[in-house]
């Protein structure tokens, strides 16, 4: 049973804050009657853009754009000249693919056009498709505003595939992430999720839980005067305990998958004028922050998304930490400290030529040392100490005090030491985000974490309950949380297990 699933369709399709919320509440979702098409690769300039159609008119559209050729062989790529059928103008030379339903991605007839990614080509092809699918498709309410010809939407086929039951919810989310994956590590994780690994894991948990619940339900409905074997409640208890351990372990490395999906928080901090803004500009390869020799130039928190050694990161430049000179700078310092608390990875920057100054010493004592002391435990905040302005050090080698924690030398000015820093960042981020290619599939969304936590809490209530009806209710709630991750959860499923496992009935 999937009662209420359509709200999930909407939620799943909404993606990570991208403008594809239209599948949501009340808005039309395409059904088998309408043919939809959209740019499936991201908006904007790119090497190759993929345009996908789904629906009964897909074949017609494909044929009319590649006229006079016949449909290409199913599921293999062919190079075709795309022409706008009306003015008979060539649009682009493109790879086209033909996926006849029902063995397609959405279950319907689908076609894909891999065109060159210029905006002009893309909009030309979309326009041509708008004309050709309009002939083949019905223009009933199914092609409501935003859906029919002319609609440009990353991802309608995704919710379609879900609606046609071809993908599970977590797979849909994985696909959404794949489409929005910006870095290599994100792509690998999204692919794994699309493969259904997270779904399989959830499915396994759901199975254990359903079994435990079925045993409790059997005890309630048949325990009294049917001779159920002894100890079915104990068996349910031990299943619940196992599940608790599994969920707990998984939740403990929880934030890693999410970091990988939405980017780790990397916060650059240090005393004033240590070169934090220069480092941010260097890492993001663009002038994010204003750089000046004047201490206290950066006052607010400046954020920029960057790809750090293949990992997505949100890089924050913050005000130099010192007792503020005025109300504005004081506020800046307060915000800097606040941001520091949320950081997954702290990039602590000191002026290598100014290590003895009171501000440097104070920074080392209050920020660096406590963080270094904490850092061995895998999942807490990590810290990298960067000594900037190495170009100002005397050529004979740095004269650094031996009690400094492990550090890296860098010159933002000359770029010396940047490779070493990037390598160190890669290692740190691999720990913070987890390695997406190995290990258990990670929880990529806050939603996953929320439901797993909900499930775990409910299992806690199960153990406390003295009333078996209340205990069963706790398991039902727990199962509801898993069902929301993975689907399933009808009462028939429970009864099937009861009748399979027990000889009940007088």
């Amino acid at each position: 049973m999937w009662r209420g699933l359509w709200t999930l369709v909407a939620r799943a399709a909404r993606g990570p804050g991208r403008p594809c919320a239209r599948q949501g509440s009340g808005a039309p979702a395409p059904g088998s009657g309408a043919t939809i098409f959209a740019l499936s690769s991201g908006q904007g300039r790119c090497g190759i853009a993929v345009i996908r159609t789904s629906g009964p008119a897909s074949g017609h559209a494909l044929r009319s754009l590649t006229a006079p050729r016949e449909l290409p062989r199913a599921r293999s790529a062919s190079l075709r000249l795309l022409t706008d059928p009306r003015p008979r103008e060539p649009l682009d030379r493109a790879l086209v693919l033909w996926f006849p339903g029902p063995h397609s991605f959405t279950g319907e007839d689908c076609a894909e056009f891999h065109v060159h990614g210029g905006p002009a080509v893309v909009s030309g092809v979309l326009q041509a498709l708008g004309e050709s699918t309009a002939w083949g498709s019905r223009s009933g309410p199914a092609s409501g505003p935003g859906w029919g010809p002319g609609s440009q939407h990353p991802g309608p086929s995704r919710s379609l595939a879900f609606a046609h039951g071809k993908l599970s919810l977590t797979e849909v989310e994985g696909l959404a992430d794949l489409i929005h994956a910006e870095t290599e590590a994100q792509r690998r994780q999204a692919l794994r999720q699309l493969d259904g690994e997270l779904g399989q894991l959830c499915g396994g948990w759901a199975e254990t839980l359903t079994k435990a619940l079925a045993h409790v339900e059997a005890y309630i409905d048949f325990g009294e005067d049917d001779n159920l074997e002894e100890g079915i409640l104990e068996r349910a208890d031990s299943q619940v305990r196992e599940l608790e351990v599994a969920l707990d372990t998984h939740l403990r490395d929880a934030r890693r998958g999410q970091r990988l999906r939405s980017g780790a928080h990397v916060v650059v901090t240090g005393p004033p004028n240590a070169g934090k803004s220069s480092l941010v500009n260097l890492l993001s390869r663009k002038p994010v922050s204003i750089v000046s020799p004047e201490p206290g130039t950066t006052r607010d928190v400046l954020e920029t998304p960057v790809d750090l050694a293949g990992f997505p990161a949100l890089l924050s430049d913050t005000a130099g930490l010192r007792e503020g000179q005025g109300p504005v700078e004081q506020e800046g310092v307060r915000r800097a400290r606040e941001r520091l608390e949320q950081a997954d990875l702290i990039l602590a920057v000191l002026d290598a030529s100014d290590l003895a100054s009171p501000s440097s010493c104070n920074f080392l004592d209050t920020v660096v040392t406590p963080a270094v002391a904490r850092s061995p435990s895998g999942n807490s905040q990590r810290l990298l100490l960067v000594l900037n302005k190495s170009d100002l050090l005397p050529p004979g080698g740095p004269d650094l005090s031996p009690e400094l924690p492990p550090h890296l030398l860098l010159s933002c000015l000359t770029g010396e030491g940047l490779d070493g820093l990037l390598e160190a960042l890669r290692k740190e981020l691999a720990i913070v985000c987890g390695n997406p290619s190995t290990g258990p599939p990670l929880l990529t969304r806050a939603r996953h974490q929320h439901h797993l936590q909900g499930c775990l809490d409910a299992l806690g209530h199960y153990k406390q309950a003295t009333d078996v009806a209340l205990a069963a209710e706790a398991l039902r709630v727990a199962r509801g949380h898993l069902a929301r991750l993975h689907g399933g959860g009808g009462t028939e499923e429970i009864l099937d297990i009861i009748f399979r496992d027990f000889c009940v009935g007088k």
Partner: protein, 632 residues
């Protein structure tokens, strides 16, 4: 005025299977039937010989009220009640055919029933007809390899009626069930068996009874024995003599014959309850020993069971196979989609059990009468009662085995309890259906207001946990973070009941202990208070889906503007769900279909809202404008 037609008046109230009523889930149904003033609970309070609530240790939400019933007393009491009901005429006669006329245009259905034709050709006219054919539709009794037509042992089956229904286009299926042999009481050696004693005090089934007719010490005992490997052997050696078991017809998974238990779970012993059939009956009903072997082998099997070594079999067990009509062909008011004003209730809809039948009977009866009076149907939702769960399951999912109620079928088990069936259904029954007596209504109102008052009083009494600890040392109140506790919170502790609480705080709690039912119900309300508040949101979600009505006259097969696959169209066409919620529970109806239907319903609702506003602006529209408006 109502006419009751039956093959034989003297079989009214005949318990054709087990000599007991109620049980887990089934007891819930009986309480709900009683809350709507149905008869069986009251009759059971006058006819039981062994009252025992099952699941006592498992929480009040899943208590199963149950009793062994004296067959003879039940029949006597039921006949007395039925034959003395005002405006009810009872007549003997077998129904062979239906009288059909043109359908009413404002309802769906291809024709309307206006009466029945009896086997002698005479006609009886009626504005609505309720059909409760039990196992009689093409009923067939099976013992060993012998089969002969019968509705139950000694009664003729209904064949003409089954043919009529099939000809009308109803989809017919076949189910089977069975009954155990009956054993002479004096031939059983009870002294070596475990006995089960009844509850003291007995809990009545009916809300309007304070107690049952018989004292606990006068009640009869039940005994327990078990099968053994010898029984398995006899069954396995003689499968070739057992056509009932070989048939592919679906039997129940939960009330299986001893043969199917032995086949599915070999090398185990199975329970056999020896139940009395009545106070002055010399028969014992061996519950759990339902069997269709040839009679002489049944006797052989019985005598290898402990305590039954010298048992005399009075009547052999037998199997019954019968027609049922796919219940997806009826609405939640139990009226058929095909024939207007024709209602089905009981085994004809694929259920098994007295209680399931009673639940449908009460709903079909109410709706048959409401239909004649042109009033809206009376439908119980899944969130309101087990009756709602039962009917919703049947009408949306159908069934391919005899359907029996379990508490695990109810999503809102903690709210749908046996103790509160009256506050869930009696008021609706009184106001909407007019089926509830004044006396019952008054009692339910009194209980309801007393409960509300009691709960608010319990919420208002608040002391520190240390003070509570001193007042009620028996309670395991933890001295944790919570500084103050309400009396209601203290009542949640397993070891605290209202009596104990009232001893600690006599004023104002003492008066609530005077009525046993009230005190118990306050305790139950307290135990579930926290969880129930969580469940409210979920109930609201479901009710929101249920509020989205699908038009009754929708032709799914030809419906344009809604994109639905052919398969989904056929499923919707067959079940005709009345709400989006019901549609979403039909197996095979995809989420995409629901989204499309939802959009369709919203459009209709908007259009209706617009139409309702139309009359105001209507005057200023010209004739042509109005025409266009209609075409839209």
């Amino acid at each position: 005025r109502t006419l009751l037609l039956t093959h034989r008046v003297d079989t009214i109230g005949q318990m054709s299977c087990n000599p007991s009523f109620g049980g887990i889930g089934k007891g819930h149904l009986m309480r709900e039937v009683d809350a709507l003033d149905g008869l069986c609970s009251r009759i059971c309070d006058q006819s039981g010989v062994h009252y025992k609530v099952l699941n006592r240790r498992k929480g009040p939400a899943v208590w199963g009220l149950r009793a062994q019933i004296d067959r003879k007393l039940y029949k006597q009491n039921m006949q007395k009640e039925i034959l003395n009901t005002p405006l009810l005429t009872v007549q003997e006669g077998a129904v062979e055919d239906l009288i059909l006329t043109e359908p009413e245009p404002e309802h769906t259905g291809k024709c309307r029933v206006s009466g029945v034709v009896l086997v002698d050709g005479s006609k009886v006219y009626a504005d609505s007809v309720v059909l409760t054919a039990g196992t009689f539709l093409r009923g067939m009794i099976v013992i060993g390899l012998e089969m002969h037509p019968a509705g139950r042992l000694g009664d003729q089956p209904s064949i003409g009626l089954a043919q009529t229904l099939e000809k009308l286009g109803f989809v017919v299926g076949r189910l089977k069930t069975g009954t155990p042999p009956r054993i002479a009481k004096e031939s059983i050696n009870f002294s070596i068996l475990n006995k089960q004693t009844p509850d003291n005090p007995s809990i009545p089934f009916s809300f309007i009874n304070e107690t049952v007719w018989i004292k606990p010490e006068d009640q009869l005992l039940c005994y327990l024995t078990h099968t053994n490997p010898r029984v398995d052997e006899i069954i396995l050696e003689n499968l070739h003599l057992n056509s009932h078991i070989k048939e592919t017809t679906k039997g129940p998974r939960y009330c299986p014959s001893i043969e199917s238990k032995v086949l599915r779970f070999p090398n185990r012993t199975h329970q056999v309850w020896l139940e009395p059939e009545g106070i002055d009956s010399d028969l014992i009903y061996p519950q759990g020993l339902s069997v269709t072997l040839p009679a002489e082998l049944q006797e052989k099997m019985i005598t290898c069971i402990r305590g039954l070594e010298k048992a005399k079999m009075i009547q052999p067990g037998y199997g019954v196979q019968y027609d049922y009509l796919d219940p997806r062909q009826i609405t939640p008011s139990l009226e058929t989609h095909l024939v207007q004003r024709l209602f089905f209730a009981g085994q004809i809809n694929g259920t098994t059990g007295y209680e399931e039948a009673a639940a449908q009977g009460v709903i079909a009866g109410i709706n048959a009468s409401l239909r004649v009076r042109r009033k809206p149907p009376f439908v119980v939702s899944r969130t309101e009662g087990y009756i709602g769960v039962l009917i919703d399951d049947l009408t949306t999912q159908g069934t391919n085995e005899p359907y029996r109620m379990f508490t695990s079928r109810a999503e809102f088990r903690l709210s749908l309890r046996p103790d509160n069936a009256d506050s869930r259904l009696t008021f609706r029954g009184y106001k909407e259906a007019g089926c509830v007596s004044q006396q019952r209504y008054a009692r339910a109102s009194w209980i309801k207001s007393s409960l509300e008052e009691g709960i608010s009083v319990l919420k208002s009494i608040e002391f520190s946990s240390s003070k509570w600890k001193k007042l009620i040392p028996e309670a395991s109140i933890s001295m944790g973070k919570v500084v103050s506790l309400r009396a209601l919170d203290v009542l949640k502790y397993e070891e605290v009941d209202l009596e104990l609480l009232a001893k600690a705080v006599p004023e104002p709690l003492k008066k609530y202990t005077e009525c046993r039912e009230l005190a118990e119900r306050l305790k139950i309300e307290a135990s579930y208070e926290t969880v129930l508040s969580y469940q409210q949101q979920e109930i609201k979600d479901i009710q929101r889906d249920e509020a989205l009505q699908l038009p009754k006259d929708l032709d799914y097969l030809t419906l344009r503007h809604v994109s639905l696959s052919h398969e989904v169209r056929e499923k919707l066409h067959f079940s005709r769900p009345q709400t989006i919620g019901a549609a979403s529970r039909i197996p095979g109806v995809t989420p995409a279909a629901i989204v499309n239907l939802l959009r369709f319903v919203k459009t209709i609702q908007q259009r209706q809202a617009a139409m309702n506003e139309l009359p105001k602006s209507d005057q200023c529209l010209g004739d042509t404008d109005r025409l266009e408006e209609r075409q839209l």
